[in-house]
């Protein structure tokens, strides 16, 4: 009943405002006068979206073929440049599979949002490719990867433990971005895309500085955004672990010559940990048991941290930010009005309903971030277990999850040189 009363008052107020707007009647210009029509700017043709999708599909197929069959870095490099030109500079970095995570997450959480079919397919296609052929998308289709790869001039190898620890921000970013978009507070991944300002030749100063910093780091550390921040890279890493076929350093057999050992700027080559014929030492049972016991603690810690973070993160939602501001203004803690609080007061909305709305949004955020915290706890626990349980490896192998299929290591392998006919099977001519 109360709601209806408020709604009626609002309607009357709105109607009053509209009477106020019609202060001057249009003059009678006669029968022959026709007012000009409103111009309707044409949107980009929807057919072009399917062209984008076609380009993506062809590039993915080509990239997988180059990494698994042709095994030529030069062609992959050419494809990478083409993808950078098309998806980066021509399409100005939009649409991309990394951002499409948010379209899919929003569509799953908000049934009123009509997700474009092309956005769903942009999300699915690289993941499906990774399930068959590994990270062909990262190799030479992603414009964000390409712009960093081009600048990788003085690669520095990071120690393994640092590499593993630095991978955590990507999981955190994925979890936070999904929570934020599912609660209707915007597309975080698009907003903080470090390279899109370069693709568009326009952007805010902080984003340009951030992008320049990432590119500067990319000169020394191979693809820092891809390895340590890319949320889609996390999903592709999982898919790639399950892939049917994988990138191999050698075309046939590994002769453990160690020539490829330092060839990967992304730290994706795993050294052999066992001699052929020698049985592997069993990992310590006590350590494993300790880590397994630690896992629930980590998960609980993540859930608690997530719940605490939720209230802070909810400030990204405009309603919550407005509610905070209104509360401060009403308490007399701040002077003056922001644009948002001015608009709120001009609309004569009541602060109680705003507060109730904001509280609901904060609660939604807290449930989401608690789930995200559980996820992070599981990731940390799995990472620790992964560090202490290693599978037996007798050859140099590309790591399933972190190999970007760029093809840099191929040329280092003497067996590959034999395959290409550059050297004979017995050695150099």
């Amino acid at each position: 009943m109360k709601r209806w009363t408020i709604a009626t008052i609002c309607l009357v107020l709105a109607a009053g405002a509209s009477w106020g707007t019609q202060r001057f009647r249009p003059p009678d210009l006669g029968e022959r006068y026709a007012p000009p029509s409103q111009p309707a700017p044409a949107a980009r043709s929807q057919a072009m979206e399917w062209v984008d999708l076609g380009v993506l599909a062809v590039a993915l197929a080509f990239s997988a073929h180059l990494a698994l069959r042709t095994r030529r870095r030069a062609w992959a490099f050419v494809l990478m440049l083409a993808a950078l030109a098309y998806f980066g500079f021509y399409r100005a970095g939009c649409i991309c599979p990394i951002g499409s995570i948010q379209n899919v997450a929003l569509a799953l959480s908000d049934p009123a949002y009509a997700v474009p079919l092309v956005a769903v397919l942009f999300f699915v296609l690289p993941l499906a490719t990774a399930l068959f052929f590994g990270r062909a998308f990262c190799a030479s289709v992603c414009p964000l990867g390409a712009i960093q790869d081009l600048l990788l001039l003085r690669p520095v190898l990071l120690p393994g433990w640092l590499e593993a620890a630095l991978r955590l921000p990507a999981h955190l970013y994925l979890a936070i971005a999904v929570v934020v978009v599912a609660n209707g507070a915007g597309f975080l991944i698009c907003r903080y895309d470090p390279f899109v300002a370069f693709f568009r030749f326009a952007g805010s100063l902080p984003m340009l500085i951030l992008g320049a910093c990432v590119l500067l780091v990319a000169v020394f550390v191979g693809r820092p955004y891809c390895r340590f921040f890319c949320p889609y890279g996390v999903l592709l890493g999982w898919a790639s672990r399950l892939s049917r076929r994988r990138v191999t350093i050698t075309p046939d057999e590994c002769i453990r010559c160690r020539l490829c050992e330092k060839s990967c700027p992304f730290g994706a080559i795993r050294e052999p940990n066992a001699e052929p014929g020698v049985p592997t030492a069993r990992p310590s049972r006590a350590r494993l048991a300790g880590l397994l016991a630690l896992a629930p603690v980590l998960v609980a810690l993540g859930a608690w941290g997530g719940w605490r973070l939720g209230a802070e993160l909810a400030g990204l939602h405009p309603q919550v930010a407005l509610d905070d501001r209104i509360a401060l203004e009403d308490a007399g803690a701040v002077t003056g009005l922001t644009d948002a609080s001015k608009a709120f007061r001009e609309a004569e909305r009541d602060s109680e309903s705003l507060h109730a709305e904001a509280a609901q949004i904060v609660h939604g955020f807290q449930s989401g971030t608690m789930g995200a915290g559980v996820y992070i706890g599981l990731v940390v626990a799995a990472g620790l277990l992964g560090q202490s349980v290693s599978r037996r490896r007798e050859d140099y192998e590309a790591d399933r999850a972190s190999c970007l299929a760029c093809g840099r290591c191929f040329a280092y392998c003497p067996r590959e040189q034999v395959r290409r006919g550059a050297i004979g099977a017995e050695g150099p001519p």
Binding site: P27, P35, P36, G99, L117, V124
Partner: protein
């Protein structure tokens, strides 16, 4: 012992099974999201009753030239002799450039005559020049504001202080501020 390459290990079977399940899951999710009637295709639009003409539209768009364009609801326009959206106030009724409000000279004034011979003015907006700053909207208590943006997330919507940016059904892309809607 490394198994011979042609033999399926337990790990391979597990991997293929999981991979197949993921593929099915992806396909199922895509199919469910693409189901017909899942929601109507929408466009970004400004609600003129919420807009406070703060000027963010002119500068917050990711495009070098803002995608927001002011449009004119002619059914509401009084065709005033002294248009507050056209002239600076205080000002006088001539077309001297220094008197005009629009920073890009996108507003064009045309003379129209009534049947009795009185002169009235019709104001049109040149889309190519309009930067969506909204100063004419702010000064004119009569006119509405309409735009289209074709975007993943509209950056201006994120920056709009009055949350006047709303998604509207694509078949009804404009929200003109006119008599029909306010009545």
């Amino acid at each position: 012992m490394t198994p011979p390459p042609d033999k399926l290990t337990r790990r391979d079977i597990l991997r293929r099974g999981l991979g197949g399940a993921c593929l099915l899951g992806l396909g199922g999710a895509a199919g469910w999201l693409a189901r017909p009637g899942g929601g109507e295709r929408t466009l970004w639009q400004i609600d003129p009753h919420k807009c406070i003409a703060c000027g963010n539209c002119a500068v917050k768009c990711v495009l070098p030239e803002s995608a927001v364009k002011c449009t004119h609801a002619f059914s509401m326009c009084g065709r005033c002799d002294f248009c507050f959206g056209y002239y600076r106030t205080p000002g006088k009724s001539d077309t001297g450039g220094e008197r005009q409000l629009c920073p890009t000279n996108a507003l064009i004034r045309h003379d129209k005559h009534t049947a009795r011979g009185d002169v009235f003015h019709e104001y049109t907006i040149d889309d190519a020049l309009c930067i969506g700053c909204g100063v004419c909207v702010k000064d004119c208590g009569l006119r509405g504001n309409g735009s289209r943006v074709n975007c993943n997330e509209c950056s201006i919507a994120a920056a709009c202080p009055s949350q006047a940016f709303v998604r509207v059904p694509a078949h009804r892309p404009y929200l003109p501020k006119d008599e029909d809607r306010t009545a």
